[in-house]
Amino acid sequence: MSWSEFFHMGGYAFYVWGSYGIALVVIGGEVLALRQRRKGLQARLNNISESAESEQS
């Protein structure tokens, strides 16, 4: 089986690769979005703890 045959998927390339493409976008998107959320949160909490420390001193 050649690579071009493989990508052709017996004529169903759009449907097969479309499915896996959507899966990649959705799963990858979930991971990236969550990473962003954590970064934002981390920055906010760092600010709070710094200001709390400066108030104490």
Partner: protein, 257 residues
């Protein structure tokens, strides 16, 4: 009195569960990635083409695991929400919230890939048969749960409202599962059933089950990641992290590692 047993109740407190969850994530995330690669390799290079559908059937390796995860995660979400409500357990409620988005994502994925599979094989993107309609209802239930929780400011009230919705919607899961037996549907029956031999060639089955395992491990990893975010957000909102200044510093130190 020395306590030699692990005190599991300790981990029921969100602040104590937080570092444990952090340690667990790679143990699920890395095997998930490896299994995804293995499953796709077997699915595309080892499994033969299908006698009816040619290569179009290869969508099954993502479609079926996604559909199962959509249902499993809903059951889990409803149970956690119910436990959180009944026993006033904050961590369980947070777990339900963390599960909802991943469950909705898998349900969406099963509908989208199903549509892409239905067009070349059945000849239609969508029909209102019992299986597809009940799966769409599942997605609406997830969306309802997520939006209801987002709409209520007080986290504990949001948890309670979400729990009611999730438990009510639980009835939909067996309906989805048995719809292909109870009614005439365009959707085919179950390939894998308890007590029956699966009607599928072994390499195809292997690819599908490996992809299912990968989706499970992925779900656990991503839900724990989201749970950590939710714990930080909620504990912060409740002012607990401010009173425990040391703990906040500890949190941010762990984040930066």
């Amino acid at each position: 009195m020395p306590n030699r047993k692990i005190n599991w109740y300790k981990y029921a407190a969100p602040a104590n569960f937080y570092p444990l969850a952090g340690k667990l994530i790679p143990w699920f995330g890395i095997p998930a990635a490896l299994l995804f690669v293995a499953g796709l390799y077997i699915g595309f290079f080892v499994a033969p083409t299908d006698f009816q559908q040619g290569d179009a059937y290869r969508i099954i390796f993502i479609h079926v695991p996604a559909a199962w995860m959509g249902m499993f995660l809903y059951i889990l979400m409803a149970l956690y929400a119910g436990v959180g409500w009944a026993f006033n357990a904050r961590l369980a409620s947070m777990m339900a919230t963390a599960l909802s988005i991943t469950g909705a994502m898998f349900t969406f994925l099963s509908l989208a890939t199903g549509s892409l599979w239905g067009k070349p094989t059945w000849g239609t993107w969508w029909v209102w048969d019992a299986r597809m309609t009940s799966t769409l209802i599942l997605l609406f239930l997830y969306i309802g749960f997520i939006s209801l929780q987002a709409a209520i400011d007080d986290p504990r009230r949001a948890d309670r409202a979400g729990a009611v919705l999730a438990l009510v919607g639980l009835i939909n899961v067996p309906i989805i599962y048995f719809s292909v037996q109870w009614w005439n549907t365009l959707h085919q029956g179950a390939t894998i059933r308890l007590l029956n031999k699966p009607t599928m060639a072994p390499p195809m089955l292997a690819a599908m089950l490996i992809m299912l395992a990968a989706c499970w491990l992925y779900s656990i990893a991503i839900v724990l990641m989201r749970l950590r975010c939710i714990i930080l957000e909620r504990e912060h909102e409740a002012g607990r992290t401010l009173t425990l200044g040391a703990k906040t510093a500890q949190f941010s130190r762990m984040e930066s590692i």
